[in-house]
Amino acid sequence: MNVAYKNTMDDPEELFENAPCAYVSLHPSGRILRANQTLVDWLGYSKEELAGKSFHDILSAPGRIFYETHFAPLLRMQGFFDEVALDLSDASGTTLPVLANAREVRDTAGDTHSVRVALFRARQRRQYERELLEARRAAEKAREELAALNASLEERVENAVQKRIKLERGLWYERQTAKLREQFVAVLGHDLRNPLASIRSGAEILARDPDPEKREKVVTLMRSSIARMSSLIDDMLDLAASRLGKGMAVEMKAVELGPVIQQVVDEVVAGREAARVETQIDLPDPIECDEGRIGQLVSNLVGNAIDHGTEGEAVRVVSGCSNGVLTIRVTNAGGPIPPDVRVRLFQPFSRAEVRAHQKGLGLGLFIASEIARAHKGKLEVESDEKETSFLFKMPQKASQTATQTTKAT
């Protein structure tokens, strides 16, 4: 057994004890059976102290958990593990990063006899790996930040584009409105001058012509001119009031609205040859509203429906009140309203073009919608291939209760 070595440095025992790595043999329980001098030097325990310890005792706490949950099962399953990173904890509690390889020594029955572990110092390497990991994390984070930045950039560009489009559209509308406003003033001047001229000539005829029959005809014409002028001026005032932000003043009263609507319809029809309007009004209870304004709204909607409807087809006016909502629907036959017109339908000067001699100033729907608003109601439009409906809706709950109270007394 005792082979004489030329040099004690070649002695295997010496090689084991002072190898450039640490060796430790473990009992299957983890108890240290034998450790070499290198490990003794690394850890600062005496050989005797080490032999009484368990492998867990020289591992850091996290190393212990990791060893038990990962490496011990691995060792048992495949009989070995290689290149496992562990942290040893020396006598002073200082951490010693190592890489470990281990082999199970098994008996003939396949049971673990002992475990041999070789440990290599790996401070620099572990440090390097840690830095790699940090670099990897930093790269990952930078990538995420870049992605987030990209996403937000896209969003910001999209927002800016949307804003710009909106701005330009607004500018375009503004320009269109300004142009229309000029036309409007011209048309208004024209339209006011015409009836005014006819009143002036009427007055001259009255001044010199004594024929009663002729005089009566002239007076009728003059009255109609006056009515036309005063209607134009009323529209102007309504527009001005709305535009100045005061909104439209309404005087709410409980009224029998059915006859009012019927009368307005009759008046509109009387002024237009060949116009046909069917009404279906079911308003047995009084309605809380501004009678004159609602009449104006109906007049505007019906006039509009006749002007833009299909000749020969009747305009339908349907009104009722259910579930506390008053509805007035005016429908005509005709093609759909183009979407771009629809967007601006209830704005003043919404007409694509203001022409002289047209039947109004293009304020009808604007004023109708202002009347709806002043009644805390809504004016909506539905339009398809066959027909177009304007629907006025207005809450009536309070006045319904009032009506019932009135009925009760």
């Binding site: 299957p28 038990e68 990962h70 990991l133």
Partner: protein, 262 residues
């Protein structure tokens, strides 16, 4: 995605009574390879991998669901429902002991008995309770997880291992059964080691066996005793084994204790 595929469920055995095995933090269903075959004779043996481990469907991993043990317990209930497990036996190792306990509270009909191998309801020291670890130590563990090579390197790609003296491992992949995506491993470690389920023990109505190793650095004897005392219907079996994985280190002892209990 079927639950069977999601959790890589494997069914074997000739018996009627279902016995479902759940692996702990670190590895996969291979943890049971020395135990499960023993029960195939008289049980319907069900093995599975937790989502994120082994050959489970990583695509099914949901950070929110698996941030706590509740998500894993929901998976166990879903597996039992998918396989119509009733009055079965649940065998859970380490953290899966608590996962099984939570599952039995959620849906008691599935299990008639629980076998809790090295259970711990709380790994943290808290006043008189000695879970075994300080908060700082557990935080260090979570950091340490990142430093190990498991899962990081491309070299970890499966290698076929030729192991002549252990043919049952011939298809085993080197190191792979302890291999986990590092992010998932960190989240599972967090769910495992920072959970405190001590208050849930009293709600477990199922008859339980606590298998405690003599020396276990992760779940010490005082922890096993705590679990036994706080479960309404439990008995403790101290087995002559070292370490936290008696299912690998001392399978015969584990099988013996289980047979006695069943």
């Amino acid at each position: 995605m079927s639950i069977i595929k999601r959790n890589n469920v494997k069914i074997s055995g000739d018996g009627q009574t279902p016995m479902i095995f759940a692996h702990g933090f670190g590895c996969d269903q291979n943890m049971w390879r020395f135990i499960a075959p023993e029960f195939e004779r008289d049980h319907r043996v069900i093995l599975f991998d937790h989502v994120g481990a082994g050959r489970s469907d990583l695509g099914a991993y949901d950070q929110e669901r698996y941030a706590t043990l509740e998500g894993y317990a929901d998976d166990v209930v879903e597996i039992c429902e998918a396989l119509n497990v009733e009055n079965g036996i649940f065998v859970g190792h380490s953290v899966s002991a608590m996962i099984g306990a939570l599952a039995s509270i959620k849906s008691p009909k599935h299990f008639e008995k629980l076998v809790l191998v090295c259970p711990s309801p709380c790994y943290l020291n808290d006043g008189d309770y000695q879970g075994g670890f300080s908060h700082q130590q557990l935080e260090e563990l979570l950091e340490f997880l990142d430093e190990n090579h498991m899962g990081w390197s491309a070299q970890m790609a499966p290698l076929i291992m030729g192991n002549a003296d252990r043919p049952e491992l011939s298809e085993e992949l080197e190191n792979s059964f302890c291999r986990t995506d590092p992010d998932i491993a960190r989240a599972f470690a967090r769910a495992t080691f920072l959970s405190d389920n001590r208050a849930d023990l009293a709600s477990v109505r199922t008859s339980s066996l606590v298998l405690q190793c003599k020396e276990d650095v992760i779940a010490g004897q005082q922890v096993g005793k705590y679990v036994e005392e706080h479960l309404p219907d439990a008995r403790l079996a101290l087995i002559d084994a070292y370490g936290h994985c008696p299912n690998l280190g001392a399978p015969d002892e584990v099988i013996k204790a289980m047979r006695e209990f069943l």
